[in-house]
């Protein structure tokens, strides 16, 4: 009955999750995260399974590796062009992690195998149910886990290649208000919850041009995360409940392909610098669609334009070996946003991001390394709208992500 535009701005949106560690922020390896997310050219450790599978066969031996991050992004909305209204997202912490095991099968083997389990998306944005954009988004939570068995082959001293198969699974939870108020003035509520999965590949080549200079190329395919039989539940005033039947839904979220080229250079025996250029195929994220099994005049399938553009990001960092046991690293990145300024929804707030990062690794005993990093991301004030919902405002994002990790060489 009400032209609710119910899901016009729904929200499996990628970029809000980028806090939580999409490939754009590269929260998959400690050293790489500390170096601005760069790392396609240099096989730092077994997390190269993610950054460049081609590096796996060049490791010294089998390594087990785990890390954990604390992600709690802050987003603020302010009314534009003038006004007194502003709103901050509720504080919420999520903990993306990564585990890798792998390396050359035996010493001097040309073959390396391994498996990585990592969480490239895993975050939540919670605006709450009393802010002005609640009919567009109250909260979104996405968790995902990628499992990537990987094989790598060292063709010669110069070139190694690798390939991983990615199986991705995850879940999504979306809450938004429905503009139908009950007798007490409370909004209706929609909750969408579903499991998603998809497959992809991760391919890489690493080239050791000289003892000092290395190159890397990696291609991570797009992963089309499909949701089937998600649960859509509605809580609305009894008199309109039949307009909002609880139903199942299907949807899909095309995660973009990522093509990365990079180089690393050993400036001195103790000091390595590296840089990556990252091409992200965001253009596949044209719209977000929800198909409900039961449709009513109030509950229509939705088609929500996103109109993302492809992006090119730059990452740079350095690693300095202070002494045998202690290394420090630092770096930065510039991630341009794939979103257009009139298609930025509060469930997918994004802007050009500047990232600064640092970290340290320490070897308390032989074979064991502990790692800690800090990653700071910020955006400038960005004035945007989400045109389909006529939600206009300025946003800013800040995020400080600490992480710890440990690795063990067998």
């Amino acid at each position: 009955m009400k032209k609710v535009c119910l899901f016009t701005a729904s929200a499996l949106a990628m970029s809000s999750l980028a806090f939580g560690g999409s490939f754009q922020l590269n929260l998959q390896g400690m050293r790489q995260t500390a170096m601005g997310g760069s790392g396609v050219a240099w096989p730092w450790d077994v997390s190269t399974i993610f950054y460049n599978p081609g590096g796996l066969s060049r490791l010294d031996g089998i390594q087990a590796y785990a890390n954990l991050y604390m992600v709690s992004p802050h987003i603020k909305y302010v009314q534009t062009p003038s006004g007194g209204y502003s709103y901050d997202t509720k504080n919420h912490t999520s903990t993306p992690f990564a585990v890798y095991v792998g390396g050359p099968l035996k010493k001097d083997s040309k073959w390396g195998v391994g498996v990585g389990i990592y969480t490239p998306f895993g975050s939540s944005v919670n605006w709450g149910n009393d802010w002005t954009g609640r009919y567009v988004s109250e909260s979104i939570k996405l968790e995902s886990i990628f499992i990537q068995p990987t094989v790598s082959y060292k063709i010669n001293d110069m070139i190694s290649v690798g390939a991983g198969f990615v199986y991705a699974f995850g879940s999504v939870d979306i809450d938004k208000a429905i503009p139908v108020q009950d007798a007490n003035g409370n909004d209706g509520q929609a909750h969408l919850s579903g499991k998603a999965n998809g497959v992809g590949v991760n391919l890489g080549v690493q080239i050791k041009a000289t003892d000092k200079l290395q190159f890397g190329i990696s291609y991570r395919s797009g992963v089309n995360m499909k949701i089937k039989n998600g649960d859509a539940t509605f809580n609305v005033a009894p008199s309109v409940a039949s307009n909002f039947p609880n139903t199942s839904f299907s949807s899909q979220l095309p995660l973009p392909s990522i093509f990365t080229i990079g180089a690393g250079y050993k400036v001195t025996p103790k000091f390595v610098v590296q840089a990556d250029i990252v091409f992200a195929g965001w253009k596949t994220y044209d719209s977000l669609k929800f198909d409900f099994d039961k449709n009513t005049s109030s509950l229509q399938n939705s088609h929500d334009p996103r109109l993302y553009k492809n992006t090119v990001a730059f990452r740079i960092g350095g690693n300095y070996q202070l002494c045998n046991k202690l290394a420090i690293m630092a770096g930065g990145a510039y991630d341009p946003t794939p979103s257009q300024s009139n298609y930025v929804s509060p469930d997918a707030v994004d802007a050009n991001r500047i990232t600064l990062s640092c970290g340290a690794t320490y070897q308390p005993i032989k074979k064991l390394t502990v790692m800690a990093i800090l990653n700071y991301t910020t955006t400038a004030r960005r004035e945007v709208s989400y045109a389909p919902d006529n939600l206009v405002g300025a946003y800013q994002i800040k995020s400080l992500v600490p992480g710890i990790g440990v690795s063990y060489n067998f």
Binding site: K3, S82, S239
Partner: protein
């Protein structure tokens, strides 16, 4: 070292640098002075909603919303002649509820609120609390605005004491006197709708080309003269302001909800018997949607089928259609119909009055809100922060349950349109109202 590192991280996490620090731009007043704001108008200005006036409706009037935004640019307090209760006065408000028709079908629709009428204290004169910033009076016309003793006259004529209860000298005063008491520095004026609406909501039974009864269309010359007097008086001390024109009333749900082609026949037998009965007059019926039969004194037999572009009023007794054969076996009485001639009268008057308003705004250098054009954009939907409003009755969210006046959210949309025009005219940057902060219709 790891421990201290983590401690350092914890400390860092609480740093202000980790929180976004953008702020919204402060609104500015531009070339206008909002210190003392007075709103002139009728029921729309008073905050009338759901078929009556009640306290929450007044608190959510568009002038009250505007005053809230003006406060950020130096505006003062905004006093309204609030009623004591929330049930409605002098009639109960409508709420959405269930009612069972003569056909035994129970449906959701507007019903009278079940509470007790706000009689106690409502008629008490509260002028001692005034003067009031919101002098909107339900029912008042432009041509009433210079009538001495209007408030008393309205009361004894069988009207409602809306003016009587807050005018300081209701027996002698002109409405204009009440509007200028605070010597406003800024005013909004949305006056004139009742100079045509009363005719329309009574099915065009009054004088459609110029009369002074509430059911007539006001004479254009009288309208022009009074309107000009009111505006000149309001700006006499240098006040700036906004003149708001009259929406085309034939686009509101009061006229558009009951469709002209609303006679639904489900069986061929029904169509056959109607065709037989009306054979002499040549009316045609078939299974499906048919045009209602209406009274028309100028037609053969005193009746005809309604045409597209003619309207049936929301106030038509639905049970008479369902069970008493109105519109099929019997013609719908003409007081429930706005026929083509009457629609033309309404639209001609609206155009004339709006020309007068526009001319006056230009002559006095005042801002001009084309509410008529704005309400037309509502036809295709106006979206605010994820909610789309349309003029559709009940489900559209903008119109209240009387089909004429707005919901608080509908009033907030108008407030934002007024702000947009003020900002344009006076180079101010007053911020818009958060429409979603207010209520739409409440569903049981």
């Amino acid at each position: 070292m790891k421990k201290t590192y983590i401690a350092a991280i914890a400390a860092l996490s609480t740093l202000a640098a980790c929180k976004p620090n953008i702020e919204s731009q402060l609104p500015t007043k531009g070339t206008a002075d909002f210190t003392t704001y007075v709103s002139v108008g009728n029921s729309l200005t008073a905050g009338y909603s759901d078929g009556t006036l009640y306290r929450n409706g007044q608190l959510n009037s568009y002038p009250s919303m505007l005053a809230g935004q003006f406060k950020m640019v130096g505006g003062g307090d905004f006093k309204q002649p609030l009623l004591p209760g929330n049930a409605g006065w002098p009639t109960l408000k409508r709420v959405l509820g269930y009612s069972t028709g003569c056909d035994g079908v129970t449906s959701l629709g507007p019903v009278f609120y079940s509470g007790t009428l706000d009689t106690a204290g409502s008629i008490t004169n509260i002028s001692a609390q005034g003067p009031f910033n919101n002098v909107g009076v339900p029912g008042i016309r432009c041509i009433d605005y210079t009538t001495a003793g209007y408030a008393y006259g309205a009361l004894v004529l069988g009207g409602v004491g809306y003016a009587y209860r807050f005018y300081s000298s209701p027996t002698t005063e002109k409405p204009l006197d009440e509007a200028t008491k605070l010597n406003p520095t800024f005013f909004t004026m949305w006056l004139g709708a009742n100079d045509v609406l009363g005719y329309a909501t009574n099915g065009g039974e009054g004088n459609g080309t110029g009369g002074t009864l509430p059911t007539d269309i006001s004479p254009v010359t009288a309208f022009q003269s009074v309107y000009e007097t009111v505006v000149s008086t309001m700006v006499a001390n240098g006040a700036k302001g906004v003149l708001i024109n009259i929406p085309d009333v034939t686009s509101i749900p009061f006229f558009t909800t009951v469709p002209a082609k609303g006679l639904a026949l489900t069986r061929q037998g029904q169509a056959d018997s109607l065709n037989a009965a009306y054979a002499p007059l040549g009316f045609k019926f078939s299974v499906g949607a048919n045009y209602f039969v209406i009274q028309d004194a100028t037609a053969p037999g005193g009746m005809r089928q309604i045409k597209s572009g003619e309207y049936i009023l929301l106030t038509i007794p639905q049970d008479s259609i369902k069970c008493a054969g109105w519109g099929s076996l019997k013609p719908i009485p003409r007081k429930y119909v706005l026929d083509a001639t009457e629609v033309a009268n309404v639209q001609a008057a609206t155009t004339s009055f709006n020309n007068i308003i526009k001319t006056s705004a230009d002559a006095h250098g005042l801002a001009y809100v084309d509410a008529n054009a704005y309400m037309k954009t509502l036809q295709s939907g106006i979206t605010f922060n994820g909610v789309t409003f349309t003029p559709t009755f009940v489900s559209g969210g903008a119109f209240s349950l009387d089909g004429v006046h707005l919901t608080p959210r509908g009033y907030a949309l108008i407030a934002n349109e007024i702000i947009r025009v003020i900002n344009q005219k006076y180079q101010s940057t007053i911020s818009t109202v958060d429409v979603n902060k207010y209520s739409g219709l409440l569903f049981p």
